[in-house]
Amino acid sequence: MKRKQRFTTALLFALVFLASCAPSTRQILATQESQVKLRAIQTRVFDATDTDKMLRTVIATLQDLGFIVDKADHVLGAVSGTKLDQYILRMTVSVRPRGDTQLLVRANAQYNITAVENPEPYQQFFDALSKAVFLTAHPVD
């Protein structure tokens, strides 16, 4: 009997300890993946130069995927959108020139309260975007 009691007490302590050693502020700069890997997952290069046109295509693609656009900035080259389907999916896509002949498109997404860090959803997004611009998306070398 005593052993069981001790066990439960230990378990309770363990839970309290676990809860206390992880402050929620660590979420501010938290990522699961390494910076390099994350960028590779979230970034593609297109052989195009018209930032404006690419931004408009990104907006159209987001709309096709059921997002509504929250914000768009021509100077910054960034677009944010939200998709609601009982869940909340937020996405920000930025477009910037890479050299004189290419555009770099980066996307990052948040599903409810977690960052999306697996490659498949991004691949799907870039597939949809490639179809819309009639161009192939290259991974960053």
Binding site: I59, D64, L65, A72, D73, L89, F125
Partner: protein, 189 residues
């Protein structure tokens, strides 16, 4: 012999831990597979949410902003360089059927059932030039796509519904109003 009362406590504690784990495991949700996949419906939705007008982008944008104001939306964000307007409004969300249901439950059981109370309706409107003509505005052609979403919360302040809106009638009515607005602005009314 094991004391039955103590045994019960230990059992409850285990259940508690189980629930605790389930809640935490529930936090680490993953994105549904179809969330970022183009479907056949995406094309249908696009057709439903898009119209083309014989006018230039600027005129269409300002006419659209006017319609959104007609409908009581407030503009949150706009980027005319990219043809984007984001607007929203907060409105009542009570439906008679829910109220009746809640009253019946209250009469029968005395319990207060939460019902939908408020909704945040968001609209984002995007224009896209198809054909541009610098000399004659009426020869220009511009497409406009609008999408609506809403977030409904109940009398206890909980969110009961988050959804995109795909009712054909709503979009049809919006574009009718937009056509009218374009007409009014062309005639400076």
């Amino acid at each position: 012999m094991v004391n039955p009362v103590k045994k019960n406590t230990v059992f409850r504690l285990w259940i508690g831990i189980g629930v605790f784990w389930l809640i935490f495991a529930g936090c680490a949700q993953t994105i549904p597979e179809e969330a970022l996949q183009l479907s056949i419906e995406s094309l249908e939705d696009r057709q439903l949410q898009t119209r083309r007008f014989h006018t230039d982008e600027k005129t269409l944008l300002s006419a659209s902003a006017a319609v959104l104001q007609d409908l009581g939306f407030n503009i949150n964000e706009s980027e005319t360089e990219l043809g984007v307007i984001v607007a929203s409004k907060q409105r009542d969300a009570t439906t008679p059927s829910q109220v009746v249901g809640a009253v019946i439950v209250a009469v029968l059981t005395g319990a207060v059932m939460p019902i939908d109370k408020e909704q945040l309706i968001r609209a984002s409107l995007v224009t896209r030039p198809i054909h541009m003509d610098d000399t004659d505005k009426s020869k220009c052609r511009t497409a406009v796509r609008i999408t609506f979403q809403r977030i409904v919360s109940n009398t206890q302040g909980q969110i009961t519904r988050r959804e995109g809106i795909n009712e054909a009638k709503i979009y049809q009515t919006f574009f009718d109003k937009l056509a009218q607005s374009l007409f009014l602005e062309a005639h400076e009314i």
